[in-house]
Amino acid sequence: MRFFDLFSMAFSGIFVHKNRSILTVLGIVIGITSVTAVMSIGQSAENLVVGEIQRFGPSNVFVLPGRQPNGPTDVAGTLLNDSLKLKDFEDMQKKENIPEAQHVIPYVFGFVSSSFGSETYDAMMIGSTDYAQKNFDLSVQDGRFFDEVDVEQKDRAVVLGSKIKDELFGNAQAIGEKIKVKDQKFTVIGVLAPEGQGSFVDFNKAIIGPYTSVQQNILGAKYFNRIIVDAVSVDAVPGVIRDIKTLLRNNHNIDDPEKDDFFIQTQEDLADRIKTVTSILTVLLASVAAISLIVGGVGIMNIMLASVTERTKEIGLRKSLGATNNNILFQFLLEALFLTLTGGFFGIVFGALLTWGLTEVAQKFAGIILEFSLSTTGIILALFVSISIGIGFGLFPALKASRKNPVESLYYYD
């Protein structure tokens, strides 16, 4: 028997029973759609988050107070730690201490309630230097960012995130107005352009001012939540890390690295960690979706078994006309394979559409700019799974068909 004939025989077997075939593959379509969509959205989310982190520049080295967190419960400890002092910041700025650092950016933050007139809004107050604008790639829509002089003079000048500006001022002009934060007045000197969401700081909901002013007027503290050291190049990062460690251990009188009261994160560390988290989430969600594939596979087997019984006479006839057991086996196996592959194909198409739809929804309603991307791994996995299900769940019915006794099948009455 020619392969092409086997092929077209299996194919027509599906087309002859269009409705049944469609219902049979529905389970596979749904399963593959979910797997493809979950994996694609997972990938888009990962790209987004990693992209947000990397936009700070891969040469950024973050110095954090406290000990490297050993688990989710450790995070609170690091937030409360006050080991990064002004002296540390000043020493880091000195060229002789960290020769390969081009900028040192202090970073303090706290959650505050802000108000203008009768409008109030809970925001994150961030204090830094003028270089923060460049480092965090912030664009000012209105007014200006604070400058060196503002930092020097501890000016009560703030730049508002776009969301806060909208909440407090609506469409009215904000520049030059005074908002209240913790019962103290700050002059709005600039408004940021709307930002994509997804980075660990949502600048849309942030009020940014000179760290000197934020420390003194709002936080009442002299320590820093982060000090970001921007190395001259990515290659210089390891050297910068080494220098920071030496400097801080010196300043804090630490001999044993085990007792460090600070820790260092690079962009790469952070990206790796987030990739791990999103991968775990993706695998988890995809596994849940995969269960529906198994259900779909059982559906295929069920229908194929019914089909084999229904076509007993046909099998007997084909055998009487010279079909070998293998001819029958492959006819039914190919039918199952076609069904699942077709299901897989439509699943991928629907999965892509669903992913695209969800990225649009995320952008429209949540302001999250998810770049549409299809997970190649997801597609390969989907095809692989479709084929496996076709063979796996189609084999038993096909074997059953091929082993039918020609006489019993021919004279089978249903």
Partner: protein, 239 residues
């Protein structure tokens, strides 16, 4: 030349531990060019005999030689090849695939033989003409009348140019006119040298052959030449 030979052929069906003998030691020889009618009441074992002779089933005991070779020496695939190339079947219920066209039904054995589509179509068209259904070539099998279906089945049985044709109650589902036409066709084939075996329980069908085997209780009761063989005319015959 002897085409078929059996020695003490036995078949026992086993169902839930209950053994039912269908053939109890049948001995027979069929030569090439014969038109043999196997007749017997229902349950006599005549269909079982045909199934074994047609290589659809294996005997429980005894020996069956097809073209001089013992059947049990053939593998399942080799039996499939024999059915495909050397045997044609005609069934009482026609057994066409309803969703295939007349042409496709007839060409089906050629598909399993591995013949190219073009050659298949050419050959199928030849035999369609032979059974006089040229104008029905592209009809679906389900659109035909009973007599037409059986003619398609005959065309299908002929398409591989088999040595022997087995017909199991070929007129059983037909009116006497259509049935007569089928028998006449089988006689014509036999006249051209084809070996025919017809299984029936009706005497007038058996009379179409050159020789009649009477089967009773799984044994060949009588084996006789049909002295007054009925030659069926083009107009068929009346029961």
């Amino acid at each position: 030349m002897v085409l078929i030979e059996t020695e003490n052929l036995q078949k026992i069906y086993e169902n839930d531990g209950v053994k039912t003998p269908a053939l109890r030691g049948a001995d027979l020889k069929i030569k090439e060019g014969e038109f043999v009618s196997i007749i017997g009441p229902s349950g006599s074992g005549k269909s079982t005999l045909m199934q074994i002779l047609g290589c659809l089933d294996r005997p429980s005991g005894g020996k069956y030689f097809f073209e001089g070779k013992e059947l049990n020496l053939y593998t399942d695939d080799e039996l499939a090849k024999i059915r495909n190339e050397k045997i044609g079947f005609i069934f009482q219920a026609f057994n066409l695939l309803p969703r295939l066209s007349v042409l496709e039904n007839i060409a089906l054995p050629l598909v399993y033989k591995g013949i190219s589509p073009k050659k298949r179509i050419d050959r199928a068209k030849e035999v369609i003409e032979l059974v006089g259904l040229k104008d029905r070539t592209h009809y679906l099998a389900s659109q035909l009348s009973g007599g037409q279906k059986q003619r398609v089945a005959i065309a299908r049985a002929l398409v591989n140019d088999p040595k022997i044709i087995f017909a199991d109650e070929p007129t059983g589902n037909l009116d006497s006119k259509s049935g007569g036409a089928i028998l006449q066709f089988l006689q014509e084939l036999n006249n051209k040298g084809r070996t025919i075996v017809v299984v029936t329980h009706e005497a007038y069908v058996a009379e179409a052959g050159t020789r009649t085997l009477h089967i009773i209780d799984g044994n060949i009761h009588t084996d006789q030449k049909n002295e007054n063989r009925k030659i069926i005319s083009k107009d068929g015959f009346i029961k």
